[in-house]
C-alpha cells in the first residue's frame, strides 16, 4: 500500500514538474530511476540508521545539482541514480561508483583513463589500509600515488592517441625500422660494456674500505647530474674530429667517434652507467661478506669466490640494473644530438620528425617506441624473475636484493 502511494506521488511530481523541461522518453527513464531510488531508500530507512539514510538523500541531492542542474544531462543523471541506489549498500563497490561519477563529471575528456587510474589507486590504498590498519601509511601511499599518477597518466593517455592503422604504417616505414634497429643494437652493446666494466667496480667499492672511496662513490652519479647536451659536448670535445685524441684514433684505427656508431655507444655508456653500477652495488651490499669468507676457508680463491658466491647471489639486482641501464641508453637523445645525430637512433628519429613535421607526424613513432619499451621491460622483468627463481631457489632471504 505504502509503495503504491510512493509511486503515485513520484508520478504526480514528474507529470507536473518535469514535463515542462524534458521530453517524454527522458522523463520516463528518470521516472523509473526515481522509483528505484525511492523504493531502495524506503527499505534502507527501515533497516539502517538515520545517519546513513541522510547520507543516501544527500548523495541524490549532489547528483541532482551537479549532473542534472549544472551538467544538464538528464539521461546520465538517470543512469547514475540507478547505479547509485543499486550500489549504495554494497560497501566494496560504492567508492568505485563515486570515482566513476567524479571522473565523468569533472574530467570529462579523460574520464576513462582517470577512472582506471583512480580506481587502481583506490584499490591499492584500500589494500594497504586493510593490511596495516594504519591511516598514516594509507595517506603516505596516497601521496605516493600522486607522483605515480603524474608519470603514468601522460603515457597511458598518449598511447591511446593514434589508431592501430597509423601505428602499423609507421612500423613499416623503413627509416623508422632502421632507427629502431640502431637503437636496440647500440643500447645492447653499451649495456654490455657497462656490465663488464661496472660490476667489478661495484664489487670493489662495496667490499673494500679504502681512502678516497667516498669520492669515487659520488663520481659514479656524475652523469645523472650533468645535462645530457653538456655530456654530449664533453664527449665531442674529447673524441671529436678536431680533438687530439679523436684525430689520433682516426689516424691509427680509421674510426670516427663523432657521427658514428661508436659515438652513439660512447654517449649511451656515459649516461647509463650509474644505473647499473648503483644496482650492482646495492646487490653486492645485500650479500653477506662472511659467506665469501666461508668460501675462501673452504679453498676457493678470491676470484672463484666472487664467481661462485657473490655474483650468483647478486645476479638478480645486477640484472635489474642491466634493464635500467639499457632503458636509459635506449631513451637517450640529448647527448646524441651533439655527438651523433646520424646514424639516427629512434629517439633522435622521433625528435627529427617532430622538428620537421610537428606533433602529429612524430606521435605514432613515439607511441611505438613507448610500446616497444614497455613490452621489452615486461619481458625482461619476467626473465629476471625466472633467473632469480633458478639461481636463488624458493624461500631464501637473499633473493630480495633486487
Amino acid at each position: 500500500m505504502i509503495y503504491l502511494l510512493l509511486t503515485l506521488l513520484i508520478l504526480i511530481f514528474h507529470l507536473s514538474f518535469f514535463m515542462n523541461y524534458l521530453d517524454l522518453g527522458a522523463n520516463a527513464v528518470l521516472f523509473a530511476a526515481n522509483i528505484l531510488f525511492a523504493f531502495h531508500g524506503f527499505s534502507l530507512y527501515k533497516k539502517t540508521t538515520f545517519h546513513k539514510f541522510t547520507l543516501y538523500l544527500l548523495g541524490y541531492l549532489l547528483l541532482f545539482i551537479f549532473i542534472f542542474f549544472l551538467g544538464k544531462s538528464s539521461l546520465l543523471f538517470a543512469l547514475f541514480i540507478i547505479l547509485y541506489s543499486g550500489i549504495f549498500s554494497v560497501a566494496q563497490l560504492f567508492p568505485y561508483l563515486i570515482i566513476l561519477i567524479v571522473s565523468i563529471v569533472f574530467l570529462t575528456p579523460y574520464w576513462l583513463q582517470s577512472f582506471i587510474l583512480f580506481g587502481l589507486a583506490y584499490a591499492s590504498v584500500s589494500e594497504v589500509y586493510k593490511k596495516t590498519h594504519s591511516r598514516f601509511l594509507a595517506l603516505f601511499f596516497t601521496l605516493g600515488f600522486i607522483i605515480l599518477f603524474f608519470t603514468i597518466f601522460p603515457i597511458i593517455y598518449f598511447s591511446f592517441q593514434s589508431s592501430p592503422q597509423t601505428l602499423l604504417l609507421t612500423l613499416q616505414n623503413s627509416e623508422f625500422q632502421r632507427a629502431l634497429a640502431n637503437s636496440l643494437i647500440t643500447s645492447f652493446i653499451s649495456t654490455l660494456v657497462v656490465l663488464v666494466l661496472g660490476v667489478p667496480l661495484a664489487y670493489v667499492i662495496t667490499r673494500v674500505d679504502f681512502r678516497g672511496k667516498k669520492i669515487i662513490d659520488n663520481l659514479i652519479d656524475l652523469p645523472i647530474l650533468i645535462p645530457q647536451t653538456v655530456a654530449g659536448m664533453a664527449l665531442l670535445v674529447l673524441l671529436g674530429p678536431k680533438s687530439p685524441l679523436g684525430e689520433f684514433i682516426y689516424k691509427n684505427c680509421k674510426i670516427a667517434f663523432a657521427g658514428g656508431y661508436l659515438g652513439i655507444i660512447a654517449a649511451q655508456i656515459f649516461v647509463s652507467s650509474p644505473f647499473l653500477i648503483r644496482s650492482a652495488m646495492d646487490a653486492f651490499a645485500g650479500v653477506d661478506p662472511q659467506l665469501e669468507d666461508a668460501s675462501r676457508t673452504l679453498g676457493a680463491g678470491s676470484f672463484i669466490t666472487f664467481w661462485r658466491i657473490a655474483l650468483p647471489l647478486a645476479s638478480g639486482g645486477i640484472f635489474n640494473g642491466c634493464i635500467l641501464s639499457w632503458a636509459r641508453a635506449l631513451s637517450e637523445a640529448g647527448s646524441l644530438m651533439v655527438v651523433a645525430y646520424r646514424p639516427m637512433t629512434v629517439s633522435i628519429y622521433i625528435y627529427d620528425q617532430f622538428i620537421q613535421y610537428g606533433l602529429g607526424e612524430s606521435q605514432p613513432a613515439a607511441i611505438l617506441l613507448v610500446i616497444n619499451c614497455l613490452w621489452a621491460f615486461v619481458v625482461l622483468r619476467w626473465f629476471r624473475y625466472q633467473i632469480a627463481k633458478q639461481i636463488i631457489r624458493k624461500g631464501i632471504k637473499y633473493a630480495e636484493t633486487g
Binding site: 653477506d288 662472511q290 659467506l291 669468507d293 666461508a294 668460501s295 675462501r296 676457508t297 673452504l298 679453498g299 676457493a300 680463491g301 678470491s302 672463484i304 661462485r308 658466491i309 650468483p312 647471489l313 639461481i391 636463488i392 631457489r393 624458493k394 624461500g395 631464501i396 632471504k397 637473499y398
Partner: protein, 234 residues
C-alpha cells in the same frame, strides 16, 4: 700444532695485543672469554681472513701468517651457519672438494660420524633446522680434511637436543679421529664437557692459560675472576 707468536691486530677501536699461544696436536682447546673480548677476531686471524699487524702464526711448524685463507686448509665453523643459500645441501657440502684431493673413504667416514646421509635427499638449505644446518656446515668444513678446526660458539643457538648431539660429534672428532680443535665460547659448562686445554681471552689479551680446572679453581687475576662469575670466580 698451532703456534701464535706475539700477535697484534687492531680492528676499528679494538685490538688484540701480544697474543702468544700454543696448541698441541689432537688437543681439544677451548678459548674462553666474555663477549667483545676479541675471540672471533683471533679466529679470523688464524683462518687468514684478517692478517695480523705484527706477530707470526705457525701451523705444523710452517709459518702461515701472510697466507691466503684458501691456502691454509683450516676448517672454520662460523658463528652463523653461513650455508650458501643458492646451492643445494649437497653442493654446499661438496663445495670445498673442488679444490682439495680427498679420498672417498674419509668423506664417507665423516658422513657416517655426522649422520647426515638422509639430509642429501632434501634440496634446500632454507628449511633445515638449527642443528641440521650446523651439521651440514660442519660437514662442509670437515670434508676438506682440515689440519685444524676452528669453532666459533658452535652450540650457541641450538636447542638442547641438537646441542647434545653436536657436542657428542665434536668430542668424537677429537677423540676418534684425532683432529685438533680450537673452540671459542663463553659458556663454562660447554667447556667443562670438552676442554683438554683452555685459555681466557679478556679485552684482547690472554688473561690465563692452563687446564680448565686450573682456571676455574685458581683464577690468576680480577678480570678472569669476574668473567668466571659467582659460581667459580668467588
Amino acid at each position: 700444532m698451532l703456534k701464535l707468536d706475539k700477535l697484534f691486530r687492531s680492528w676499528k677501536t679494538f685490538a688484540l695485543k701480544d697474543i702468544s699461544l700454543e696448541i698441541k696436536k689432537a688437543e681439544y682447546f677451548v678459548l674462553l672469554g666474555p663477549c667483545g673480548a676479541g675471540k672471533t677476531l683471533l679466529l679470523n686471524c688464524i683462518a687468514g681472513i684478517h692478517w695480523p699487524d705484527s706477530g707470526r702464526i705457525f701451523i705444523n711448524g710452517q709459518e702461515v701468517t701472510y697466507l691466503f685463507p684458501e691456502k691454509r686448509k683450516i676448517g672454520y665453523l662460523f658463528q652463523k651457519n653461513l650455508l650458501f643459500p643458492h646451492l643445494s645441501i649437497k653442493e654446499n657440502i661438496y663445495y670445498g672438494l673442488k679444490y682439495h684431493q680427498i679420498d672417498e673413504d674419509y668423506i664417507k667416514q665423516i658422513f657416517k660420524l655426522l649422520d647426515i646421509n638422509e639430509l642429501f635427499l632434501r634440496r634446500d638449505t632454507s628449511n633445515l633446522s638449527g642443528g641440521e644446518a650446523q651439521k651440514v656446515s660442519l660437514a662442509r668444513c670437515l670434508v676438506i680434511k682440515p689440519s685444524l678446526l676452528l669453532l666459533d660458539e658452535p652450540l650457541h643457538s641450538l636447542d638442547p637436543a641438537s646441542r647434545e648431539n653436536v657436542l657428542m660429534i665434536l668430542r668424537s672428532l677429537n677423540k676418534k679421529m684425532g683432529l685438533t680443535l680450537l673452540h671459542v665460547t663463553h659458556d663454562l659448562e660447554e667447556a667443562k664437557h670438552l676442554a683438554d686445554g683452555a685459555a681466557v681471552l679478556i679485552d684482547g689479551t690472554i688473561g690465563q692459560r692452563g687446564t680448565l680446572e686450573d682456571i676455574l679453581n685458581h683464577p690468576v687475576n680480577l678480570e678472569v675472576r669476574q668473567f668466571l662469575g659467582n659460581k667459580y670466580g668467588y
